[in-house]
């Protein structure tokens, strides 16, 4: 191997600094074979990193395979770096003076020659840049090594980032999930069925899907009763509000606070009609026309639940008219 060393350069640094009087030996290896091998190792490391990603995504994240692939990737990078350290970059032997703590004249002014005042000394910046550049002296296939390094970085980076996907499940249909379908009974917070006779005109009640988790966003409803002659429901919802009882998702379509405010005017001729209001940003939804927004930042109407009456209790006659909760990229605008 030693025959490969071509240069012996000593004291090169003297050209920059008159202050420097240290001893320096320097060899430039310039081994294209070592460079090729380094690049191959790095590319292989990139592949191993991508293998980790593939195993995470497709092989059911098998622990042994994951560990193996990432270990191979890391080991290949280690090998590449060790090889490069000994056979690609310049080999140096440099002498550095040790800072002396016990100097009697080591006073408050401090040693000035170590000072690198970034904004004051233009030359020191130049010198640091040069030291960095010199590190690649004698390396011939720089572009290949650069590409290999970048590939290894991408592979390892991908392997490092992909486990973040474990934080939460894929979106799938979960934002459209809802316990409401035909025949699901409405129950109060205490689990008792909601009785029609309990509700009079102007009543407001929070109801849940029987058997569903009350904390589930789509589970809770705002149930209100108005006079049937007030209703202005669209034709396809004509039978959704038996005896003037309406049910809406209790979660605002703006930023999913609970719609905990029902405004039922005693004298509707003189004040705006019955509406559900979200107390976070005051989005207001008209209950008479099926939950259309009349005030505030919400855009989508409040999803309405078609109701029917069975044995004097309220039962869903179908699913909610739209997706519950805040709008997001795949929410259907019309509901």
């Amino acid at each position: 191997m030693k025959t490969i060393w071509r240069y012996l350069v000593a004291g090169v640094l003297l050209r920059f600094s008159k202050k420097r009087t240290v001893h320096r030996e320097r060899e430039l290896p310039a081994s294209t074979r070592a460079e090729t091998w380094t690049a191959i190792l790095l590319f292989a490391a990139a592949l191993a990193g991508l293998a980790f990603v593939a195993i995470y995504a497709f092989a059911d994240a098998n622990t042994q395979l994951l560990g193996l692939s990432i270990a191979v990737s890391l080991a290949l990078i280690a090998a590449a770096l060790i090889l490069a350290a000994s056979q690609v970059v310049p080999q140096e032997n440099l002498e550095e003076p040790r800072p002396s703590f016990a100097q009697p004249n080591h006073d408050a002014d401090g040693p000035k020659n170590h000072d690198i005042r970034g904004f004051s000394a233009h030359q020191q910046g130049e010198e640091a840049a040069l030291v960095v550049r010199e590190g690649a002296d004698g390396v011939t296939r720089r572009r290949l090594l650069g590409a290999a390094g970048a590939a290894a970085g991408v592979g390892l980076g991908a392997a490092a980032l992909v486990p973040l996907a474990s934080l939460g499940p894929a979106v799938g249909d979960r934002y459209a999930e809802s316990p409401w379908k035909d025949g699901v009974r409405l129950v109060e917070e205490n689990g008792m069925a909601v009785k029609v006779d309990d509700l009079e005109v102007g009543s407001f009640l929070t109801a849940f899907a029987e058997g569903a988790d009350k904390e589930g966003l789509a589970s809770s409803l705002a149930v209100v009763r108005v006079r049937t002659e007030e209703l202005e429901l669209p034709e396809d919802r004509a039978d959704w509000a038996p005896e003037g009882i309406l049910a809406f998702s209790k979660i605002c379509t703006h930023a999913q606070c609970a719609i905990s405010l029902f405004r039922y005017p005693l004298f509707s001729e003189r004040s705006p009609g019955p509406a559900l209001v979200c107390p976070c940003h005051y989005s207001t939804f008209n209950v008479l026309d099926g939950g259309q927004r009349i005030f505030g930042p919400a855009v989508r109407p409040l999803p309405q639940l078609p109701l029917r009456i069975e044995n004097g209790t309220l039962v869903a006659a179908g699913p909610l008219s739209g997706e519950v909760g805040a709008s997001w990229g795949r929410v259907r605008e019309e509901g």
Partner: protein
């Protein structure tokens, strides 16, 4: 003398005496506005100390329990252990409520002190080279501090914090394309999320963000000390020197005094003025809400923006591309912080001033910067105040709907008015200065040069 022996002992082993000696003679310029950052730093120290104590009692668990503790009005209510442990911390841990309240007041003061510190930096041009990197570090700490505060009060799982998280989730979902997935990643599923989410929130609040903020604070201080402090113009003050009080002894005592004063104010408030009485709010469930829910003050500008925003989405076909909360919850704060991050570059680009500045501008010295900064801060302030319009309605009776329209007009008109008024005022003030010979507008200044560094001359 023992002091000398101590330093000799240290120096022979660490070589640090020289540095300490230098540090003791580090000069702090005398100006009271330079202390805003210190108030923030000392608030942070108090946050870390009180937070450490609180973490010994708080339980970040979403497991449900029935409350049977000291506070009778909550008896029999179902709640998470997180909320129950926070209530117990307030009622059953001796000194617990004091520490919790000090922690909360310290958070409010921390953010307020950062804000006025930022304004001082902005309006005096202290962000210019060589301190632009440090300005970015500081801004990043502000962003982290806002998120840290939000995570902190969200942890308690009371009614207000739950509503805040619901909105936070709605805002996350509103980010185009990635929003839905981002929401399920952070919350571990659909809102209200899983136990994982609470563990994450706790970890972020008590470890990740404090460590990040602490690290950045160390970097911030190092980058302040490296080029030394800025100073206002004045007798003997030049680009190449710093005139003021050395660290030892006067400034050290002064600064320590400020620390104890900050602590005194915070503990005074913590003991006497109630903050976030969570037992009065009750526990949160996704189907519960209260009127007049508000975030802590440093998020007031975001609730203001969400409420002020007219109702429109960007819709493609039947599908929402950009939902409404994006405008107020992401775009608005993004634009404000974007402006702050970009400002040093914008100023360099439009004035051509790339020189090193160690002497500060008085706000009047740069009327355009002062006017633009004032306009932006006015905009944020107007949006901020609009966030409390509902409380203003209850207290003062101006209808909420009218206020909303009023604020929408103010948000557009006020910054414009402030821009022109500030600019005019600055120019007049500057021209009335002690040097009548100075021509208005012209700032071509010839300054003595110091070895290797040139003081910038504004190309007027």
């Amino acid at each position: 003398m023992t002091t000398r022996r101590l330093f000799r002992f240290l120096d022979s082993r660490t070589g640090g005496a020289g540095a300490i000696g230098k540090a003791l003679r580090y000069v702090f310029p005398d100006h009271w506005t330079f202390l805003f950052g210190e108030i923030a730093m000392y608030s942070f120290l108090i946050l870390v100390a009180t937070g450490t104590y609180l973490a010994l009692f708080f339980e970040p668990s979403t497991a449900h329990v029935i409350y049977h503790g000291t506070y009778a009005p909550l008896h029999g209510q179902e709640m998470t252990r997180a909320y129950a442990s926070a209530v117990n911390l307030s009622f059953d841990v001796q000194a617990g409520l004091l520490i919790r309240q000090v922690h909360h007041w310290a958070a409010d003061v921390f953010l307020a002190a950062i804000t006025i510190h930022l304004m001082r930096i902005f309006f005096t041009g202290a962000f210019r080279k060589p301190r632009d990197i440090n300005y970015y570090v500081g801004l990043t700490m502000l962003v982290l501090a806002v998120l840290e505060g939000y995570a902190g009060y969200s942890l308690l799982d009371d009614l207000l914090s739950g509503m805040g998280l619901a909105i936070g989730n709605g805002v996350a979902l509103s980010i185009p394309v990635i929003g839905g997935q981002l929401g399920t990643l952070i919350w571990g599923g659909r809102f209200p999320g899983t136990q994982d989410f609470f563990s994450r929130l706790f970890f972020v609040h008590v470890f990740l963000f404090p460590v990040l903020i602490g690290t950045l604070m160390a970097v911030h201080l190092a980058l302040v000390a490296r080029p030394h402090h800025t100073q206002f113009r004045g007798r003997r003050r030049r680009e190449g020197n710093v005139v003021g009080t050395p660290l030892w002894p006067a400034y050290a005592l002064r600064s320590l005094g400020l620390f104890f004063a900050t602590a005194a104010v915070l503990f005074l408030l913590g003991g006497l003025v109630q903050i976030n009485p969570i037992w009065q709010w009750g526990p949160y469930e996704p189907y519960l809400g209260t009127n007049g829910a508000q975030p802590d003050w440093y998020l007031g500008w975001l609730i203001g923006a969400l409420r002020l925003m007219p109702h429109f989405d960007v819709v493609i076909g039947n599908y929402t591309l950009i939902p409404n909360p994006f405008w107020g919850g992401v775009l608005f704060p993004g634009a404000v912080f974007g402006f702050l991050y970009l400002w040093p570059w914008i100023e360099r680009r439009f004035t051509g001033d790339r020189a090193v500045h160690n002497l500060l501008d008085r706000p009047r010295d740069n009327p355009t910067r002062t006017a633009i900064g004032s306009a932006v801060f006015t905009l944020v302030a107007a949006v901020f105040f609009s966030g409390s319009a509902d409380r203003a309605f209850v207290q003062f009776g101006v209808p909420y709907e009218d206020q909303l329209w009023g604020y929408r007009a103010l948000v557009i008109l006020l910054p414009i008015a402030v821009f022109f008024l500030t600019r005019r005022f600055c120019i007049r003030l500057r021209d009335r200065g002690a040097h009548p010979a100075r021509e208005s507008g012209a700032r071509l200044v010839e300054r003595p040069r110091f070895k290797g560094r040139s003081r910038g001359t504004d190309p007027a």
